[in-house]
Structure formats: structure tokens, C-alpha cells
């Protein structure tokens, strides 16, 4: 590794990604954005995410999807068929000069091909390998499979998403949109890889880290888990049994989403002092004097009525005006942003949150960069778009890419 500003935090770090779909590719993407040199190994059929449906794109033709593009910029794509001997040898060769391998192959996949950690470290004693498995190793579920759907539901996170419902037996718990469970597994793997790298830099000792995607998702519900451990009953999903504090899927206390002319605004004037400032902002409407609403606990007990009054008021206003006026009074409130709103948000623009990457076929697109600014290096490092399948085979093996 060297410390040149142009190479970010991880310049010189060599990473092999044997990743499919979201979790391992997301982990390696972060390393690539921080400056690592990432080679992505794909099977001849390509990463699964290349086939993801993208509106406006005929994905299966060219192996391009918005999901693939979003997770694989700044990587090199090498196609290897790990079922044939020649490519197994190529993989072993690449692994010899690698610092970190990130992979999410099915359990036993690498062992069956004699490409597992014990084999790889024979020629690379300080190798770090990060394996993401749905349920980790060494427990009753280790050979079970799980995608985002099951990880979200089994980890307890789906029970809180829509908030209480009238009939929990006909309205099932809900997973969030996107790929959050897989991304949590990938993010957790990135943290583990940086801890393992520290150990290696200090001692020269590599290691094999098993990340359990299920446990990574349980970690996202860690407060509920602690509450359970100390005997607190879990929140009910049944609206009738709810103690009046949850609206629009918000987590607790007084807070929720109000309709506006131009969308929605999310507000939470939960403390009495915040509520006083909120009422002042609304111009002291008569109903706010009502004893149903004049203390926090009263408001919690009359949430439905309260929301009717608040909505009547907000419906004639802009989400931006409400949030700005509220924030000026130190009340937590935010516009509910659409993607379009985010792309033209002045705060994000000021912070240069989006970075432009030119794609040869799709042109210039805005990608999220990284959610942090560092003073002594520039990250993310300048990025190339996600590679075509096998584009870099010719670089590594003197052959023509497919």
C-alpha cells in the first residue's frame, strides 16, 4: 500500500472478488471506491445481478442492469469457469498475489473444487479470505439458503416495517424494498475485512473470516434483542393492542408522515418543548389547546385525531416549506424525498455526494459516492464504469475478452 492521495485509503491493496448478486460485490465495491485494486471473478454466464430487470433496458442482451452497474464500478472483470482445471489453476495463480479474497459462493463450493482457504494459503501465507454465508458455519442451518426475503423476515426486521395492522393474520410482515439485507451482509464483511487487514499489517498473519448474513441482519435489530433479553415484551403488530404511538410506520413516540401539496413531510415534534414551537409554527390553531393534545402523553393517546388535524393543515402546504420552517425552530422534520428530489438536492450537491461516471452505452450517470469526507485523502478514487463480462481476461491471460 502507498499513501499517494490519488490512491485513496487502500491504494495498492489487492482484492479478488468471487461474488454473485449483492453481498460480496457490495463489500468489494467499497474497497474499490477506497482505492483497492479489485478483480471480479465471474462465471461464463456472468454475475447473477447482470440479469436483474431494469426498466428501460433490455438487460439480458448485454449483461447490463442498474443493479450490476451500481455495485461493480471500478472493478476488473475476469471470467473463469471454476469447474475446469485450467481456470482453477488461473484462480490459484491470482490468489497467490492477493491480499483479500471476498466471496459468497455456496457452502462447500470451494472445498469441493480444492480451492478453499486451506489450499489457497499454501502459496499465500498471509491471505485474508472473507466468506459470506447465509447462516455462517457450524450450526444447524449452515447448509440452508436465504436471500434478502428470508434474511429480512427471519432476523426480526420485517415485523417493524409497516407498523401495526388491523389483522396480522391477513396482512403479513413486510420486507423493505431494495437489497438491504444483502447489503448489510456486504457492509459487515467490509468491516471484518478491515479488521483482518489490521491484524495482517501488524503481524503478517492472515485469516479466514466467516460472516453470517443472518447474524448481520440480527445485529440491525440489536436493541430489540437486548430488550427481549431483559424481559421486555416484543411490540405487537396488532393495531388494537398498540398504545397509540405509531403512525405511518414510524418507530415510536409521536412522529409520522403528513401529506402536502407536493408529496409528504416526515415530522417528529415529540417533546413538549418541540410541540410548543410546532404549534407556534402552525399559528396556534384552536384545536391545539384541546386537552387531548396539550401534553406528550395526551397526544400519544389521541394520535389518530391528532393526525387528522395535522393533515388538514399540511395538505395546503409544501413539504419543503414545512421542513424548513420546522428546522428553523429546531424541530426534527424532513421532506420525504423522491429519487428526483435527491438528484437535485442542494445540500447533497454542496457535499458533492453524487459522482458522475460515463458509461460507453448509457452515457453520464450520477452514482452515490461515499457518505463521508476525509481530509487527508480523496475518496472515492476516480471511477470507471462497471466492466463488460470478461473484459479484463486479455490483460491477465493474453486472451480475447468475450
Amino acid at each position: 500500500m502507498d499513501s499517494d492521495n490519488a490512491t485513496g485509503l487502500l491504494g495498492g491493496l489487492k482484492v479478488l472478488e468471487l461474488g454473485s448478486y449483492v453481498s460480496a460485490p457490495y463489500c468489494a465495491l467499497t474497497l474499490a471506491k477506497l482505492g483497492a485494486d479489485v478483480i471480479k471473478i465471474e462465471p461464463p454466464t456472468g454475475d447473477e445481478s447482470r440479469k436483474e430487470i431494469t426498466l428501460g433496458l433490455n438487460a439480458n442482451d448485454k449483461g447490463i442492469s442498474s443493479l450490476f452497474l451500481s455495485l461493480n464500478h471500478n472493478k476488473k472483470s475476469v471470467v473463469l469457469d471454476l469447474d475446469i482445471l485450467e481456470d482453477q489453476k488461473r484462480f490459484l495463480k491470482l490468489a497467490e498475489s492477493t491480499d483479500i479474497i471476498v466471496e459468497n459462493t455456496p457452502i462447500e463450493y470451494l472445498r469441493k473444487r480444492n480451492l478453499d482457504f486451506d489450499k489457497l494459503k499454501e502459496n499465500n501465507a498471509s491471505l485474508i479470505m472473507i466468506s459470506i454465508l447465509p447462516f455462517g458455519e457450524g450450526n444447524a442451518y449452515s447448509d440452508y439458503v436465504a436471500s434478502d426475503l428470508s434474511l429480512f423476515h427471519m432476523s426480526g426486521n420485517a415485523h417493524g416495517i409497516i407498523g401495526p395492522v388491523k389483522d396480522p393474520d391477513t396482512e403479513p410482515p413486510l420486507r423493505a424494498g431494495g437489497y438491504q439485507a444483502d447489503m448489510v451482509a456486504g457492509l459487515t464483511a467490509t468491516t471484518a475485512s478491515m479488521i483482518a487487514l489490521h491484524k495482517k499489517m501488524k503481524t503478517g498473519i492472515g485469516c479466514h473470516v466467516i460472516v453470517s448474513a443472518f447474524e448481520a441482519m440480527v445485529t440491525m435489530a440489536i436493541s430489540g434483542l437486548a430488550n427481549t433479553a431483559f424481559g421486555k415484551p416484543h411490540p405487537t403488530r396488532k393495531l388494537q393492542e398498540q398504545e397509540g404511538s405509531s403512525i405511518g410506520g414510524m418507530v415510536s413516540a409521536i412522529g409520522g408522515v403528513l401529506p402536502c401539496i407536493d408529496g409528504f413531510v416526515a415530522i417528529s415534534p415529540r417533546e413538549d418543548a418541540q410541540w410548543e414551537r410546532w404549534v407556534e409554527m402552525m399559528g396556534h390553531p384552536d384545536w391545539a389547546e384541546d386537552e387531548r393534545f396539550n401534553t406528550r402523553s395526551a397526544r400519544e393517546n389521541n394520535v389518530e385525531d391528532l393526525w387528522v388535524f395535522l393533515s388538514e393543515w399540511s395538505l395546503t402546504k409544501s413539504k419543503y416549506d414545512i421542513s424548513r420552517d420546522g428546522q428553523n425552530r429546531r424541530i426534527p422534520c424532513f421532506p420525504v424525498n423522491t429519487i428526483e428530489d435527491l438528484l437535485r438536492d442542494s445540500h447533497l450537491e454542496y457535499r458533492e455526494f453524487f459522482m458522475n461516471i460515463e458509461h460507453p452505452e448509457l452515457g453520464l450517470l450520477k452514482y452515490p459516492s461515499l457518505p463521508y469526507k476525509l481530509n487527508n485523502v480523496t475518496v472515492p478514487v476516480p471511477s470507471r464504469p462497471a466492466p463488460n463480462l470478461g473484459f479484463h481476461n486479455k490483460v491477465f491471460f493474453n486472451e480475447t475478452g468475450s
Binding site: 415485523h159 433479553a229 429519487i339
Partner: protein
């Protein structure tokens, strides 16, 4: 060889509530020495809840009243011994206390300062007051979640534990970079940007097509069957996802629907979706007579994805979490014991974490002020008297 991966790293943790303490927690369990600093004058609001016992595992905790001006030199002395400082006050607060990065550098030139705030520390909205639950709406998470009926719902996972995991990642990357370059780092972290960064494919979708895929609940664009099915008992559900035709055929045999096995009217996702109501009813009729865990075991035995949709108390009872050691025993000062979560990974060939129960404020006062900083015992007692150490 058996030293923990992060032994030798010292972190002074001024952060409170959830995200910051969670970041420090991951590193404390992996062997870093984390010294939490706070005051009884304005205690960490999380202290009164049970989750505090998890957020602060394996840490030291000393009391220091930062609103008293005599505390500043002590804080600086402490920071001078440290590799990393973490804070997550509202933007600008830590600076006004006199602990801005430039000042800290004078005492420890290669210090790494991690500052986490709702919308970051620069830009027109840097002073926005934020709760994690509101940030989920602000950051676009909710536009991709829900049943597609247009009403915003809470868009996803709870922000704070997610942010905590990312904070510990970027801290470790900065520490590793310092080992090579000798350079410290100021890390200006925005919770809001962290959430927005995780919906990158939707952001590209919108730019490519001018629209977004409708939120589709538990369904999938690429797979069917894929969703939740009712099981025995109130609010008991199981997720099932069929990945390919081989699985579809095996599944149909298992649920006694031989008419669908190798049937060309049902051999693609698109064709099966035409019969969605009928298929879902048949699957529900099969699942509703069974325990959710049983459905998981039966289907997973033939390689098909299935899992119970658990509430958090049932997660806490799941046997795999004990088997793997994720839930481990903690012994508290009063002798009571609890099984609490540790870390979601296993470093297979080195010892990977050490566990001690969360401290109370002031537990480490003598260890830190007398032993580490070498403050004279009389002065120490005076500082307690004057509520500087408080």
C-alpha cells in the same frame, strides 16, 4: 499469535445514544481499548434502556463533565494518548467545546477524529435536527418500500445500527492507512448519505428509465413463488422463494400438486404469475396447517429457500444463535447473567473477541485518571469534589 486483532488501539469515545457507541462496540469486542467519556450532568440518554448493555460491551467508562472548563485539559491529556476520537453530537457542538480537528492535531498530530452527524458537517442543511426514523424518509429509502399503494412507510432497517457498522469500517480503513502513511484523518460522516448510498440501483433506474419500479412488498420481479405464506398460530408466517424450475417441480411434488410438475404452462416465472392467485391459495392451504419452523426445515432439506418471519422475541429464542456463539453469556457486576449478542462474524484461526459487561459511568475513573494519566490522588479527589470528574 493469540492477541486480539485490535489490541493496542486506544479509542476515546465521546459519542452517545446508538450509532457512535455501536461503532466503538465492534472495535472494543475485537480488542481495541475503548474509553467511553460522559457526564452524569447530562447522561447518555441510552443509559436507562436495556440496549445500553449491548452498545457498551467491553468498554471502559469514565466520568468527565465537559461543561466545566477545568475538564478540557483532562480531555486533551486523554486524547493525546489515543489513536482515535469518536463523537456524534449535532454538527458544530464538538468544535464549540474546543475539540475541533485542528486543535486535537496539535496534541496528537496523527489523530483520527470521526465525527458523525445526521446530514454531515458541511452544506446548507448541516444543522438539521435529525432522528434516525425521519432520515429514512429524507434519504429516499421509503420510495422503494411498501405495497405500491402510494403511502410512505418507514423505508427500511433502523438507521443507527447500519451506520454503526459503516463507521467502524471507515475507522479501521483510516487506522490501516495511518499505519502505512503516518497520516491521521478527519472523517466527516453523514448518516443521511449512508442511507441514500444504499439505494444506488434505484437511483440509476430512475436516471435510465425516468421512472422507478413500483414498491412490491414481499414479491420479486424475477422469481415466483416468492413471498410470505400463513402458518399455524397468530401472526405466524413463513417466507418461501422458488429459484428455478427444478425447485418448482420438487416443490409441487412435495405439496401434492403433480398436475403442475413438468407442466409447460407453469415452467417460467411469467407463466406461473398468470396463476398467482390459484398458486398462492394452494401454497397457503399447505402452509397454514404447519408450524413455520417446520416448513423451513422441510423445504430447506430439498434446497428450497424458506424461513419463519420472526418477531424479535422469537429471534432471541432461535437455537442457531446460541449454537454459533452469537448470543453469549455476560456476567454483570451484581452477579446476574444474561445471554446477549456479540458479533456477526467468526475469525476462524485467531481469537476474535473478548467480552465484558457494559460498565456504569465512572467505573473506570481510577484506572484512567490515576493509572493512565497519572493524576495526583489529591487533585483527583478535588476534581470529583468540584464536579469536574462527574
Amino acid at each position: 499469535m493469540n492477541e486480539l486483532p485490535l489490541s493496542g488501539i486506544r479509542i476515546i469515545d465521546f459519542s452517545w445514544i446508538i450509532a457512535g457507541p455501536t461503532a466503538a462496540r465492534h472495535l472494543a469486542l475485537m480488542g481495541a481499548e475503548v474509553i467511553k467519556v460522559g457526564s452524569s450532568r447530562r447522561p447518555d440518554p441510552s443509559t436507562k434502556g436495556s440496549p445500553y448493555q449491548v452498545y457498551n460491551q467491553s468498554k471502559e467508562y469514565c466520568a468527565l463533565n465537559l461543561s466545566n472548563k477545568d475538564s478540557k485539559n483532562i480531555a486533551i491529556d486523554l486524547i493525546s494518548t489515543a489513536d482515535v476520537v469518536i463523537e456524534n453530537f449535532a454538527a458544530g457542538v464538538f468544535d464549540r467545546m474546543g475539540f475541533d480537528y485542528e486543535t486535537l492535531r496539535e496534541y496528537r498530530p496523527d489523530i483520527i477524529l470521526l465525527s458523525s452527524a445526521g446530514t454531515g458537517h458541511t452544506g446548507p442543511d448541516k444543522n438539521f435536527v435529525a432522528y434516525g426514523s425521519l432520515l429514512q424518509h429524507y434519504t429516499g429509502w421509503n420510495t422503494i418500500s411498501g405495497y405500491g399503494d402510494g403511502n410512505p412507510i418507514k423505508g427500511g432497517l433502523w438507521a443507527d445500527p447500519w451506520v454503526g457498522m459503516e463507521l467502524s469500517m471507515i475507522l479501521m480503513a483510516a487506522i490501516n492507512h495511518r499505519m502505512e502513511s503516518g497520516k491521521g484523518q478527519y472523517i466527516d460522516y453523514s448518516m443521511a448519505e449512508s442511507l441514500t448510498a444504499s439505494i444506488s440501483s434505484s437511483i440509476l433506474d430512475y436516471q435510465i428509465s425516468g421512472k422507478l419500479s413500483e414498491p412490491n412488498g414481499n414479491k420479486s420481479l424475477n422469481k415466483y413463488p416468492h413471498g410470505l405464506y400463513k402458518c399455524l398460530g397468530t401472526d405466524k408466517w413463513v417466507s418461501i422463494s422458488i429459484d428455478n424450475n427444478i425447485q418448482w417441480n420438487e416443490f409441487c411434488e412435495l405439496i401434492n400438486q403433480v398436475k403442475w410438475v413438468n407442466n409447460s404452462d407453469f415452467n417460467t416465472v411469467e407463466k406461473r404469475k398468470l396463476y398467482e392467485l390459484e398458486i398462492d391459495k394452494v401454497i397457503n392451504d399447505w402452509t397454514k396447517l404447519q408450524e413455520d419452523y417446520d416448513v423451513m426445515h422441510i423445504l430447506q432439506a430439498i434446497g428450497i429457500e424458506a424461513a419463519p418471519s420472526l418477531d424479535i422475541s422469537r429471534v432471541y429464542s432461535d437455537p442457531s444463535l446460541y449454537e454459533s456463539g452469537f448470543l453469549s453469556n455476560h456476567v454483570f457486576a451484581d452477579g446476574t447473567e444474561k445471554m446477549l449478542p456479540t458479533l456477526p462474524w467468526n475469525f476462524t484461526n485467531i481469537s476474535d473477541f473478548e467480552l465484558s459487561a457494559a460498565p456504569n459511568i465512572g467505573d473506570s475513573n481510577e484506572k484512567i485518571y490515576l493509572d493512565l494519566l497519572g493524576i495526583d490522588i489529591k487533585i483527583y479527589k478535588d476534581l470529583i469534589e468540584k464536579k469536574v470528574i462527574y
